[in-house]
């Protein structure tokens, strides 16, 4: 059987980008919920680094011969969890050892949401193209 989606690098890429965006969103939500918790440290990872890593993994996997195997898809949404947890600069204006920065986190929230939507938009576009190709072939 033809597998038009898992062999498509565009859709694979966008899938990973969306997975990473939701992952980052979980951390941002935790940071914002704990904005007043004493001793709490900001949790985050570098989206760019994680995405590049996913891309490198994907490049290894996307060989045309393996794309029609049924077992091909398993790692699609289990891209490795990036563990980079760069220390945020301490907030000197606070005295509760909490380093969450509301403005920075809000900006990240909007950014991550945009990344997700953009990826979803690209994936949808690609799916449309695939569908168009199928339709044209039927004519």
């Amino acid at each position: 059987m033809f597998d038009l989606v898992s062999g498509n690098s565009m859709i694979q890429m966008m899938d990973r980008s969306m997975t990473l965006a939701t992952r980052r969103m979980t951390l941002i939500a935790a940071n914002l919920a704990n904005i007043d918790t004493p001793n709490y440290h900001t949790q985050d990872f570098s989206f760019e680094k994680a995405f590049k890593q996913s891309m490198a993994e994907l490049d290894g996997q996307l060989s045309p011969t393996s794309s029609s195997l049924p077992s091909y898809f398993p790692s699609a949404s289990t891209a490795t969890v990036p563990t980079t947890n760069d220390d945020a600069p301490p907030a000197y204006e606070r005295n509760d050892l909490n380093d969450v920065n509301l403005d920075q986190q809000t900006e990240l929230l909007a950014k991550t949401q945009n990344i997700y939507q953009l990826s979803s938009e690209f994936a949808q576009n690609e799916l449309r193209t695939v569908l168009g190709a199928i339709r044209d072939a039927g004519k």
Partner: protein
């Protein structure tokens, strides 16, 4: 736990913690002049103690860290003495101990709680938009 649900749970925990904080601020402001309590003595300022709460893990192993109020602390700051000999709770010197509540502090506290609450609401709003755009993927025509 689905990731979107996990994010909403986190935001909800943040919202309920901040709501409790506003509740305590309201109680402090309402009782700013209360000189009699069930425990005896004037009212003492109450403040919440926030602590991280591990709600579980997402399928990918990302920790889901919410927040909870583990307790309410009564402030041991000194009471505010006022001279008012006609007051029924005045001591031998005519001094009445009023609660250790500073209305300005409470106002700041409430504003801060409001901002933090809004931040959690913003998270839920963002997640909703993300869910909608994920659903849009089904609409390929």
């Amino acid at each position: 736990m689905s990731t979107f649900d996990a994010i909403k749970d986190i935001a909800a925990s943040g919202m309920s913690a901040q709501r409790l904080r506003v509740q305590l601020a309201a109680s402090n402001i309402a009782n700013a002049e209360t000189t009699r309590t069930a425990d005896g003595g004037p009212y003492r300022r109450k403040e919440p103690i926030f602590q991280t709460l591990l709600l579980g893990e997402t399928q990918e192993g990302v920790p889901v860290t919410g927040v909870q109020v583990t307790g309410v602390q009564q402030s041991n700051d000194p009471f505010i003495p006022k001279y008012d000999p006609s007051h029924p709770d005045a001591d031998a010197n005519g001094v009445v101990n009023f609660p250790n509540v500073n209305p300005v502090d409470e106002m700041v506290n409430m504003t801060e709680a409001g901002r933090s609450f809004e931040a959690s609401v913003a998270v839920i709003r963002a997640v909703r938009t993300m869910e909608l755009s994920a659903q849009d993927l089904l609409r390929v025509q």
